[in-house]
């Protein structure tokens, strides 16, 4: 790696844990470790710490502390929302509506439900990744029990019209879940105003620890457990509480919220600079919307004639950490389902690069990336038979 530069531009995959967050967690490993279900005074501190974390979460999304349930991460929260609502409400109907661009935690949970008696409608999206409200309305039947639509997409950063969706669902008395794993800590969220019934988050996307998340469940909603067992989390999510993790999540969400607007503005500017710079590379397209409808830290482009993994490897050699499609799917060889859903042909979808910015990203980082990327693309195109063909025959 040249001059040991390391530029992390994969904040959407995971963030580091902030030192202030870690510091607040440490005592709960070695000193304040009492099981919060116990009666002795040693566990009073851990109970309080969990209560505080719950309040911090509630404040940020504008719900009651009693509506906050800690989980083992974002995927668990998503699975719980879908399976828990489905199994507990199957007497009311067996139909679920979601979108084609959800995270796999939602899509694969839906496939599981389809194998077990449920029917799922996957709403299409437009070329920017947005669903159509008309499509949603048309998809609703009298068997629909749940709508699950992500707040913001992890690959192309598209933010959905959550409040409009919430209003439709509330009116039709259908539960509305939103996977807000990419949005919490980065976008202003108000579950009351937006009429959200269930919402998933994961601490490691906003500078908290990995392995801890939240499912917000509006009061009075009928939901089965995903993890049955002891009485933790008011009987809804069994398992000895991950106290340090929960404390970390609480601290992290508070910090993120304090700084939300400023950081949003700062990142949006860097993002737009990066996008504009990358679009100077010929035969390059932006995936996802621009402006306020896009996550402040998300950049996603496709370079034609080349393939994503090879871009990543060359960038890595220059000290740049990036991803192509979502990190979770990079074990698979299919192009991203999100890029296909916005209408890209396979060969173009394969050439995607996602750069996601975060709190340590500076303007110099952006400049450096803009210096490196064009030469990397150039180099790979020179090796690519598609590029050859194109130069010879032109675009068909």
């Amino acid at each position: 790696m040249e001059n040991n530069k390391r530029i992390y531009m994969d904040y959407a995959a995971t963030t580091y844990t902030k030192p202030e967050v870690l510091e607040e967690m440490i005592p709960y490993f070695t000193q304040e470790f009492g099981n919060p279900s116990s009666i002795y005074s040693l566990s009073r501190g851990t109970k309080k710490a969990i209560d505080l974390a719950r309040e911090r979460v509630a404040k940020v999304i504008n719900c009651e502390p009693a509506e906050v349930f800690f989980t083992g991460g974002g995927s668990e929260a998503d699975n719980w929302a879908l399976k828990g609502i489905a199994f507990a409400n199957k007497h009311r109907g067996n139909h679920i509506i979601t979108t084609k661009i959800e995270h796999h935690a939602i899509l694969h949970a839906c496939e599981f439900l389809e194998r077990n008696g449920f029917e799922v409608t996957y709403l299409p999206v437009d070329e920017e990744g947005k669903i159509s409200i008309e499509d949603l309305k048309n998809a609703i039947t009298d068997k629909t029990i749940l709508v699950s639509i992500m707040y913001a997409n992890n690959e192309i950063g598209t933010i959905q019209p959550i409040k409009e969706i919430g209003e439709i669902c509330r009116e039709k008395r259908i539960f509305f879940h939103t996977d807000a794993v990419q949005a919490v800590g980065h976008e202003k969220i108000d579950v009351k105003d937006m009429k959200i019934d269930l919402l998933s988050m994961a601490a490691h996307k906003f500078y908290g620890p990995k392995g801890v998340g939240v499912l917000y469940i509006r009061k009075g909603i009928r939901i089965d457990n995903l993890v049955h067992g002891g009485g933790q989390e008011r009987g809804r999510r069994a398992g000895t509480e991950n106290i340090a993790g929960i404390v970390g999540l609480g601290k992290a969400i508070e910090l993120a919220n304090e700084n939300l607007e400023k950081e949003h503005e700062r990142l949006s500017k860097l993002r737009d600079k990066l996008i504009n710079g990358l679009l100077q590379v010929p035969y390059t397209r932006l995936n996802g919307p621009t402006g306020k409808d896009r996550l402040a830290g998300n950049v996603n482009v496709c370079f034609r004639f080349i393939e994503g993994e090879s871009i990543l490897l060359l960038l890595d050699a220059k000290g740049i950490c990036a991803s192509s499609g979502s990190a979770c799917t990079s074990g698979s060889l299919n192009p991203s389902h999100v890029l296909l859903a916005i209408g890209l042909p396979h060969e173009i979808a394969h050439g995607s690069l996602r750069l996601t910015l975060g709190d340590r990203t500076t303007e110099e980082d952006v400049d450096y990336v803009l210096e490196v990327v064009p030469s990397v693309v150039q180099r790979l195109r020179e090796m690519s038979p598609l590029w050859d063909d194109f130069l010879k025959k032109g675009d068909k």
């Binding site: 009666i39 009073r44 109970k47 002891g230 009485g231 008011r234 009987g235």
Partner: protein
């Protein structure tokens, strides 16, 4: 669950524990199967509760409720003692956790039983009271 300081005080230093040998009103409620029995002894003179004692098998809040309830009725008239509600006991203890509210119901019922036992002994008409179900147990699960 976290108990208030008042609960802990009445639990660790319970007032009025014991029996009254010449009690003229005794009430026992609860069931060992459920993990709680409360027994209240009254010594009534001139319609005044001159002395009251309790014995309780139960959790911290059952013992604290017994202690507080006996304090609250000591020196009161029988009519006043009859009016004591479980809510008043819980409030005097600075609150009880929701799962433990029934422990205070036990105290109210034990006093009612003891007073009616006294009235029976005096040849007086028994007073009616609504049997609250002390065992609407709230569970952590479900």
């Amino acid at each position: 669950m976290i108990y208030s300081e008042k609960v802990m005080d009445h639990f660790t230093n319970p007032r009025n524990v014991g029996e009254i040998q010449d009690a003229n009103g005794v009430g026992e409620v609860g069931n060992p199967k459920c993990g709680d029995i409360m027994k209240i002894y009254l010594k009534v003179e001139d319609n005044i509760i001159k002395d009251v004692k309790f014995k309780t098998f139960g959790c911290g809040s059952a013992i604290a409720s017994s202690s507080m309830a006996t304090e609250l009725i000591k020196g009161k008239t029988v009519e006043e003692a009859w009016e004591l509600t479980n809510k008043a006991v819980a409030e005097a203890l600075d609150g009880l956790p929701p799962v433990k509210m029934h422990c205070s119901v036990l105290a109210e019922q034990a006093i009612h039983k003891a007073i009616n036992d006294y009235r029976k002994g005096e040849g007086l008409e028994l007073w009616d009271y609504e049997e609250k179900d002390a065992h609407e147990h709230e569970h952590g699960e479900e």
